[in-house]
């Protein structure tokens, strides 16, 4: 027992390196000679290592506990605890993804915007010009509204000079009755119609502000009666999708606009009008709308500002009604409507060729 203790102390001293050189040498001699001692040394060494490491870990844990005590874990945990709300959790977990997506979106929007902005450059020039005319129109309208105290006109098409407006019209009878929009000739001092460079003075025979229809009568002496009208007014309505075209005067020469009937009702469901998909411009007002067979199905009156390709045409039925509403004594000579339609079966070019002589440019002075 005594020896064991001594031996143990010796081993420890040996392991700690506390022995003198002579003692250490003697001990190593003993180790090599006695395998039991050697085994004890190895075992003890390993055990002591474990023990000291254990001690170190303990102290490390103690240190960490101290550090841990400095942290306000409770408050921190409160902020990080998974939120009861699913959305907040989703947000927390996907914050970075959301951020990336958002920045990508922003970038896309920005680049698309800038591309559009760049490519718009040319268009803006045109738009600006048109706005200047619009401003002039608006001012004119304003003055008129103040003077007449009536409802503002729907549209005012085609100013072709200062205090001078232009529209389109077409012959209703061979003896000089024409049809156009009421808003074209509204508040006019004098009205002239022009065809192939010839100008004729006209007077208003009848107008109906509600349907925006005006019937003019050529009162010029130089006017020679026309040949028979090639077209006729269609009494019934036309279906959606019917191909139609119009001949109008957005410039000094007749311009063809082609399209189709896109809706049976006009602006805000107005049943007196069709919506037609024809590109029209100021000056087209009052132009007749023909179907494929050369029947007049309506008359261009207005177009929608905000919608592309939405123009409105008053139905031919109302033009007929207007004609019938003219008292026979104010008509003077009887209005003759062509009953047969020689345009039927002709192709478009031929039809237009024949129609051309019966459409007029309306010039209004006030």
């Amino acid at each position: 027992m005594r020896n064991d203790i001594e031996l143990d102390a010796m081993i420890e001293d040996y392991l700690k390196g506390n022995l003198t050189a002579a003692e250490a040498e003697a001990f190593e001699q003993l180790r090599t000679n006695d395998p039991v001692v050697d085994h004890k040394v190895v075992a003890h060494k390993a055990f002591l290592e474990t023990l000291t490491q254990y001690g170190k870990v303990l102290s490390l844990k103690q240190q960490m506990d101290n550090a841990h005590a400095q942290i306000d874990v409770e408050a921190m945990a409160e902020k990080m605890r998974p939120h009861p709300s699913f959305i907040v959790n989703l947000w927390r977990k996907n914050k970075s993804a959301v951020a990336i997506a958002a920045s990508f979106l922003l970038l896309t929007i920005f680049s698309v915007y800038s591309i559009q902005h760049n490519s718009k450059q040319n268009g803006t020039y045109e738009v600006m010009r048109r706005e200047i005319t619009n401003i002039r129109n608006n001012q004119n309208k304003l003055v008129r509204t103040l003077n007449s105290n009536g409802p503002a006109p729907k549209t005012r098409k085609g100013p072709s000079g200062l205090a001078k407006f232009g529209g389109s019209g077409f012959a209703l009878t061979a003896n000089g009755y024409l049809c156009t929009n009421y808003h074209v000739i509204r508040d006019a001092d004098s009205i002239y119609v022009q065809k192939n460079g010839e100008s004729f003075k006209v007077k208003v025979a009848y107008f109906d502000a509600q349907y925006d229809i005006a019937i003019l009568k050529i009162i010029d002496n130089t006017f020679t009666p026309l040949s028979n009208l090639p077209y006729k007014l269609k009494r019934n309505g036309v279906g959606m999708g019917e191909d139609v075209y119009t001949l109008g005067f957005p410039k000094d020469d007749a311009v063809l606009g082609e399209g189709y009937v896109s809706s049976r009702t006009g602006h805000n469901g107005d049943t007196t009008q069709y919506q037609v998909s024809i590109p029209i411009n100021p000056g087209n007002s009052g132009g007749a709308v023909f179907d494929n067979y050369g029947n007049i199905v309506g008359m261009i009156t207005a177009k929608e500002n905000q919608v592309e390709g939405a123009a409105f045409a008053v139905k031919s039925k109302h033009i007929l009604e207007a004609l019938n509403a003219i008292p026979s004594d104010s008509l003077g000579r009887k209005v003759v409507l062509s009953k047969k339609n020689p345009l039927q079966g002709l192709n478009r070019t031929k039809q237009i060729d024949k129609i051309q002589d019966f459409v007029y440019m309306i010039k209004v002075y006030n």
């Binding site: 474990t50 023990l51 490491q53 490390l60 844990k61 240190q63 960490m64 550090a67 921190m76 902020k79």
Partner: protein, 188 residues
Amino acid sequence: MSNKLSSSVPTDREVVLGILNNSEDALNRLYTGYFPMILQFIMNNNGDEDDAKDVYQEAIIVLYNKIRSGDFELSSKLKTYIYSVCRRIWLKKLAQQSKKTTNLSELDDVVAVEVDLEQHEEKELLFEKMGSALISLGEPCKTIIQDFYINNLSMQDICEKFGYTNTDNVKTQKYKCMQRLKKLFFQT
């Protein structure tokens, strides 16, 4: 909040040097620096503050041993290393508790820490045995052993502390205690 804390996070180099020099300050800063990250991770994955503390401390011990073992190379950022270790430990714990682990995102930035953890687990097993052996050893043996071997007190100090008449008695007592401890340790 985490930004404020991370501003006090020491650089990786400071930490390694501090640990090698036994600096308590370095440990403190390391500990407080990365704890919020782990706390958040654990709490977002079915854990609570105590789990976070346990996992985090284990990870720090792994890091400590790795640095102390001398062959430590900074192959990744310490933050990543700690995170990876914690993640692995927590995964293991979750698997043991057979909780759902499916929502633990697999895409996180992690480094391979399996080897380090295996070594750590082996040691941890030994330490557990040692701890339970020491506890069942009872007083005064436990304190004598701890004072002598862990706290490195001299025979003389222990002699005075426990009121032994001379160091030989202490030596005898210590020897007996040591024998019992070894017995207990290897028994379990």
